[in-house]
Point group: D3
């Protein structure tokens, strides 16, 4: 059984993350189901995608399924890992992907939100970037998703504090495009999609691809990258990484020693 619900009409497809008892954690299975839905929509020439949680969910998505993170000695955010594959699928979808957000968005789901082309939210929405809570060394492409949207000091604050950014502030700093009343969230988003659907989708597909290429154009040397990779490895080899994963699963705060 699929963990997503899929609907569409004309050029607009809606994918609802539908595993609320697991807080829509982005497990390998949920990710597979989203990607399958995207693939099907692409075959059907659906031009615009809306990504949402079921009506009334308090949590839009809790992010990574922590049980699936690798134990010590392995990069937890490697290129072919499930969430990374999803983020690229969203970036490469040849039409706009709009996140419609009611409720909380944490960690990997926050990265997913930042990877969507636009974000429409209501006042219940809030956003937390949590790798520093889980002892995870984040990947550089993930950090770039934030740098393309936020002043660097705001992006750092999100990563360093791992605290929730409420909807109003999210609007001001640039995380979301429009903040609308709860009861208008769906109609506003559908209207936005309807407007886009009257435009040239050929033109939009190439422009989206140009944004993708240009937003990644932070050219660094292999040396710089291998150094960052070496530093990240020290983190996922550390006691603290192991401790944080364990603590999370035992539902207690991690006891970080800085080693």
């Amino acid at each position: 059984m699929s963990l997503v619900k899929v609907e569409f009409s004309e050029k607009v497809g809606i994918i609802t993350l539908n595993n609320t008892q697991k807080l829509n954690a982005l497990s390998a299975q949920l990710v597979d189901d989203i990607i399958e839905a995207l693939d099907n929509f692409q075959k059907q020439k659906i031009h615009i995608i809306i990504l949402r949680a079921p009506e009334g969910s308090k949590v839009w998505s809790a992010g990574h399924d922590v049980k699936e993170l690798p134990s010590k000695m392995r990069d937890p955010l490697s290129y072919y890992d499930s969430l990374e594959v999803l983020l690229r699928a969203v970036e490469e979808y040849p039409g706009p992907v709009i996140a419609m957000v009611h409720g909380s968005v944490w960690g990997g789901a926050c990265d997913l939100i930042m990877t969507c082309d636009m974000v429409i939210a209501d006042k219940t929405a809030n956003f937390a970037m949590t790798p520093a809570k889980l002892g995870v060394p984040y990947n550089s492409t993930g950090i770039l998703h934030f740098m393309n949207r936020l002043p660097i000091n705001i992006a750092k604050e999100m990563f360093f504090t791992a605290e929730l950014v409420p909807a109003e502030r999210a609007l001001n700093v640039g995380i979301i495009n429009h903040l609308v009343a709860e009861e208008e969230l769906l109609s506003f988003t559908l209207n936005l999609a309807a407007t886009i659907s009257t435009r040239s989708m050929l033109s939009i597909a190439v422009i989206k691809e140009q944004f993708r290429v240009l937003s990644k154009a932070y050219a660094i040397t292999p040396s710089a990258f291998e150094r960052v990779q070496g530093m990240r490895r020290k983190v996922y080899d550390s006691h603290d990484y192991e401790e944080a994963i364990t603590a999370f699963l035992e539902k207690r705060p991690a006891n970080f020693k800085g080693e």
Copy 2:
């Protein structure tokens, strides 16, 4: 007869786009006249330029003169095309160019606004980025003008919807520097120019040039670029491009088929 009006006093020059019956569309002739004005101001050592429409115009500029866009099979935004030459002239002017905006700014004129060093506007101002309405594959340097100013999700919204961004929102997202009352638009802009004119113009000229170089420093490989160029070519070779240009000239909505 020139399509622009030119005034100056001391270090400040004012160029008024003066072809309101054509909604100040950026035709080859209007562009030539602006560039000629810039060249003359540069010779006279005018340090600061104000770019404006005549008082009371409802449209600051309608952007490209669609009649001048090439028909199918040719890149409509090539390096030596008229508007592109103008954008570079503004970027390379050795002093600040300030857009003073009352009224609507569409398409190529919106790109011009984003290329000016600063934008001062009143509440009548609004801004629409329209290539997806015209089926045009935009050029990458144009997209960068938006990425240097806006969170990427806001820039995408402008390109994907082609809808007007009203003045208040334009202030919040970073399109304009100051939103002032209609009756103070001119005096505020002149005051700003007067302040700048007391500063070291040598220092400002080099700093502007550094901003220019750094704002373009999105390094990509020739392979990546040739791929984007190949994708763009598919768009301007398409039925939809031809249809959109025709529809615009026939003043009817385009009927896009996605091919």
Copy 3:
């Protein structure tokens, strides 16, 4: 005697710029003292730094000590110059550095603020970027500090006008993270630091380093850079540079001739 005051408790260190009779100008000596404090905190494994002025100072810091700027024919912002060394020390500190700002921040101090990871300010705070007042050709890494935070038109306005940006606008455009009441400035900042101190400092240290590397990834060619350097040299070889430094020291406005 040190020009800074140093305190700490657990994982949080506070460095107070303590040379208020010189308006905390970033003289070689003050810079040395800040760097020494940072070095000591790093040895003690202090994870979070707060940088502040003494309570009640009207000026947080006046920026460069103009008396120490080189006379004509020498680059005033060279890589091993005192302030540049400080900016790199802040960027390379392996934990967050938070600027806590009450009062005015001018010139080089404004660059320091932009280099800190986060900025918390009260309503007395304001910010001016003054090289165009001093005839100084700014360095490219300094300009990047602003481009990573501000829309390019706002950054240009700061550099071209050299005018003060008040606290409220500084919040809106992205210079500061939080604007808080004067009486809560310290407690708010300490709370923020306390939150961060419960997170994985290993994870934060690498993420900060990734932000540093990525925020500098504006790749340009040696040719482009040597050209910029040649242009900057013309400025510091000019009459106007000499005049501006002299005028500043004589406390009169500079008389710029554009040569």
Copy 4:
């Protein structure tokens, strides 16, 4: 009927360009057949490819099929054009592709040779790079194939003179890996392939991909690229481009006017 002959044994596949009456010109059909052969070999897990002409051919390949080049006003070396697709297929094949060369290699075939991972040749081999003879503005990725192998002055000589480089010189300047006697050409090449087939193909596939990525890492800005593209467009819009294509088909020297 296929224009290539295909053989294989164990891990080594041989593709013979087999359209000698057309001098193995790289027509769309011949390219399709090579690509199909590569695809089949990849499915069969053939690890090493040898690309050759039939025994005794005086011309290995004559390069582009000039009849297929577009007439004026269109880029003759666009990303999705037949030969470009082939070059990428060779670069992306997950094992070494070895060109085994007896006879002459002209124009686009010379680019193909430079794109193969290794080149083994006998004394009859020679190489000419002919776009300046045909009035063609070459593409930047093609020029990079030469820059990764040759001192830039040698690469320029090939492009500017369009003259044949004989086998001995080709060995000295770095075009070919080994120059062997005619009668040993096949056995030498098969031995080389046999040696490679004892190595780790997983390791080789990734290393080849790293060479591909790094050899393309000539990062330039979109502005620089759009300028080059604009300059190239002036060439394929010119009289001389049209004249050269016509002259070639009429088997007479082109009469270039420089316009």
Copy 5:
């Protein structure tokens, strides 16, 4: 006891790899001793380093100590691994490091040779690049060491065949600077060092640093790099990597399955 022998006179220091019963394999201990020698020479202001094996050794160095390579699931060429640290120490030494080569140079030692500033060899010298024999996914900075010296087709041949390149060919393709008679190897190298020692060492130190920076300036995006890293991980997670290491230690050929 140190595994290197150290001598010097005036400005020239000589480091002799002195663990011939282990074929000078670059074990962690040997690397530490070389780095210590470099550190001491730097403190003594020794300007030029000669790196050599003891007179008469048939093997200059056998490269990595395979016993020290990590077992499956871990990157064998990580940034802080022993050999990588050595290569950076050579690159960062503030004066020329000259490899003086008699005998065979394999694998990691071949990378060391390519990292030295110059290579002087006699006819017994030969060079093999062996990661494809050991199933190792090589690192990108290592590949760049070869690309800065060799035509890309020659570099690929070395990596794909893992065969020895004899001295004469090594001279022709650019691996070595001078090929001299065995009995003149030392005197020639000392003369070269003596010449350099009469030049400005300040000037040379900066020029060497510029070569280092520029030779690494292959700018790629974090996305491209993370993809390469993901592909490399598949290799060191594979059966074949494990098999090759085991086979090497059991002194039998590896049985690669391509998985």
Copy 6:
């Protein structure tokens, strides 16, 4: 009176450096005369330039006029300095510039040779790169001219030893395109030019520009560049720089102290 002699016939222009009593040192005046000649040839649509010394000169050019180098505290290779302007004029000439070399080529003239598109030489030719003899910190674009032609170890040897590379070796390592007999030097070069003149000059002009852009595409960050610039400044501020210039003018060896 001009320091160059100028001739031309049809599409080929010849510029003879004609200040042999000063060994054709590239003084500001000689450079001006070469640039003027290039400008005139460009106006006359001369497509190919040959740069030579008068018949029989033992020195093709001695490089920088050392008397014109700045004294201490100033960058001796700044962007607008005379020789740098010449190198760019050669690179930007819209047709091939061929150096025809008989005799010795030193220092800045060696950089000029490397900047020419092709080099034809006879056996009397030799080449020395001398900044380390003069205590000069070289500029990065100059170093790139060598990296685009030579294996990095050969380029370093030239810079670190400042010794002459004789003609035969210059051919082997890639400095020169063809080594011909003395008596055929002119005829060979004219033949080469004649061949090129039958090709499409439009095509060649763009391809030359692409080579220029791509050969400079060594993208580095402003931080990396400012660091190199800071290091270079330490050199031209040093005792050794001053001493070397003085020693050269006094025709004695410099006494370097490394400070």
